[in-house]
């Protein structure tokens, strides 16, 4: 088999690795393996290139091998060390900085290739107004913008940088972006002799745009921005693929560009905000919600699907269920016990937190759960439960409302002030199952529902619990 045939096979395997790996990454059971599938595909494509690539212009194989292997060795050592040593809480900024690395790699490729193109066209009759030049420049711009933006995102998440914005920055950004493309066009159309200097100007402008794009966006929105920059770098990689007629770069780049864009949109939906709002809305100060459910103090609720809850619970270490009147109304105590059994089979520690006035009479919940054969050593009294919430991964609130309302502790004007409550906010995630946003027995709004760790699972308790049981079983 000729070397180019083997190389093409390597690129095909690489592309397959990316597609299959990405698909596997979207499911919890196969996610870890999917990561390795993509990595193996990447390795095959990389080493295939090093040993088998033949340059179409010169007909030569890859030279400067010591430099290449040396660079890869340094990158591998630095990359592995920093990725392994960093704390888990710093993961988002690591993703951002590695994204930036990909971006600047694309930017540098653009600079080198454009320099080469300038040299080829410095003779009379040479022109830069070609598709080839456009591809190189677009890769350069997009990669550099992503790099600059990613560095800013990294510094923000790391706490080194604060948000900064000036009046009219949205318009400045838009205008500047047009200017960047304008300069690129001007450069292609103009004197080849000036192109050299202008290329570096373009590079600097792309950096400025990247910085200005990310600067005003709030730290809490950074993951969405990083996901967007992620897809930018993917597109930059795709332009590289277009440039070298390289199938694996094209596939990998476009896959990430498309998947990354959709992921960005999904992340916005999960936050109940639009992408435009994230990018521009930060100037207004508040988080304007696109949905109608806004609390009396302007808070926003976040919904979650039964599928997500099922997965969350399946992979949790400790789950505490808080039953309330809603559970009794739905007569869902048996299916609740079923969920408890399914989770326990998966190795999850499941307990129930029983508030003294949960339901419509003292002991209501105890009776309800006893009827469903729930073992009473799984029932925690309020004080015991309050000690456990801090180490709990998921709290599932089934139709309880006032007994988990923080206003009882925080708001002296509240009718329930002074009543001891179940302090579910201490847990990592709080899932609230209710039929609607209707008020509970005390007739007041519950600020827990608008909390940052809270997700609402709307629906009848029996129906939702059945869905959860099915989800947990299939995980």
């Amino acid at each position: 088999m000729s070397t180019s045939a083997i190389l093409n096979i390597c690129y095909l395997i690489g592309s397959l690795g990316f597609i299959i790996g990405l698909k596997m990454l979207s499911k919890p059971e196969t996610a870890r393996k999917g990561n390795w599938v993509a990595a193996v595909g990447m390795a095959i494509a990389i080493f295939g290139t090093i040993f088998l690539y033949i340059d179409p212009e010169t007909g030569e194989k890859i030279t400067n091998l010591t430099w290449i292997f040396g660079g890869m060795l340094i990158g591998t050592i630095l990359g592995t060390m920093s990725a392994k040593k960093v704390q888990m809480t710093a993961m988002p900024q690591m993703v951002s900085i590695f994204n930036g690395m990909g971006g600047i790699c694309a930017g540098l490729i653009g600079i080198i290739e454009f320099r080469h193109l300038i040299h080829l066209n410095e003779t009379p009759g040479g022109t830069l107004m070609t598709g080839h030049a456009l591809i190189i420049l677009l890769g350069l711009i997009i990669g550099t913008v992503s790099f600059a933006g990613s560095v800013v995102a990294f510094l923000k998440l790391n706490g080194n940088l604060n948000d900064y914005s000036f009046k009219g920055q949205t318009f400045f950004n838009l205008f500047f972006l047009v200017a960047v493309f304008g300069v690129a066009l001007f450069m292609m159309n103009g004197d080849v002799a000036n192109a050299h200097m202008m290329m570096y100007v373009l590079f600097a402008m792309a950096c400025v745009y990247g910085i200005s794009f990310v600067m005003p966006i709030g730290g809490a929105d950074m993951p969405v921005v990083i996901s967007l920059l992620n897809s930018f770098t993917g597109v930059a990689a795709a332009f590289g693929g277009f440039l070298y007629n390289n199938g694996v770069m094209l596939t990998g780049g476009i896959l990430v560009g498309a998947a990354g864009t959709l992921l960005t949109v999904l992340m916005c939906k999960a936050m109940n905000r639009s992408l435009m709002n994230v990018i521009i809305g930060s100037f207004g100060g508040g988080n304007a919600a696109s949905a109608a459910i806004v609390g009396e103090n302007g808070g926003v609720i976040k919904e979650i699907s039964a599928g997500d809850v099922g997965i969350n619970m399946s992979y949790a270490q400790k789950v505490i269920i808080v039953p309330g009147y809603g559970l009794a109304v739905a007569q869902a105590q048996h299916i609740c016990h079923e969920l408890e059994k399914q989770l326990t089979e998966k190795g999850v520690d499941v307990k129930y937190a029983i508030h003294p006035v949960a339901g419509r009479m003292p002991g209501h919940m105890n009776v309800l759960l006893a009827e469903a054969d729930v073992s009473y050593d799984k029932l925690l009294e309020m004080d015991a439960a309050n000690d456990e919430f801090a180490t709990t991964d998921v709290v599932l609130i089934l139709g309880a409302n006032d007994v988990v309302n923080p206003a009882a502790k925080n708001n002296p004007a509240s009718p329930i002030y002074g009543m001891p409550i179940l302090e579910v906010e201490k847990a990592k995630t709080v899932i609230v199952n209710k039929r609607s946003m209707n008020k509970g027995y005390a007739g007041i709004e519950n600020e827990l529902f608008f909390g940052s760790k809270t997700r609402m699972l709307f629906g009848d308790a029996k129906k939702m619990l059945q869905e959860l049981v099915n989800e947990v079983k299939s995980n």
């Binding site: 597609i19 400067n64 290449i68």
Partner: protein, 104 residues
């Protein structure tokens, strides 16, 4: 107009356009039913995958004339940065996914 005719009359360009269009649909399809708990690891995995741009840096470095110091340095840096994206990306993703070990 002539530019478009030039581009679309070359088979290789048209084939790449097919790849682009199909890849967009595959990319979207693959992500569609992602549970929120996987959003960040998936983003990290996609991040590592776009490190495929390193292949461009290897090609560039591979044809760099050894007497052109600027290109040699820029090319070397590009390879380092590309490797950081790839290796760092996959290792970070793996760390995030450690939490998804099946119990039992």
């Amino acid at each position: 107009m002539e530019f478009l005719t030039d581009v679309f009359s070359q088979d290789v360009n048209v084939r790449m356009l097919y790849i682009i269009i199909l890849s967009i649909f595959v990319g979207i399809e693959v992500i569609e039913k992602v549970p929120t708990i996987l959003h960040t690891p998936l983003m990290s995995g996609a991040n590592a995958i776009h490190g495929v741009v390193i292949i461009g840096s290897i090609i560039v470095m591979g044809k760099a004339p050894s007497d052109d110091y600027l290109i040699m340095i820029l090319g070397f840096l590009a390879v380092v940065f590309g490797t950081l994206n790839v290796v760092g990306g996959f290792v970070v993703t793996d760390r995030m996914l450690e939490l998804f070990k099946k119990k039992k």
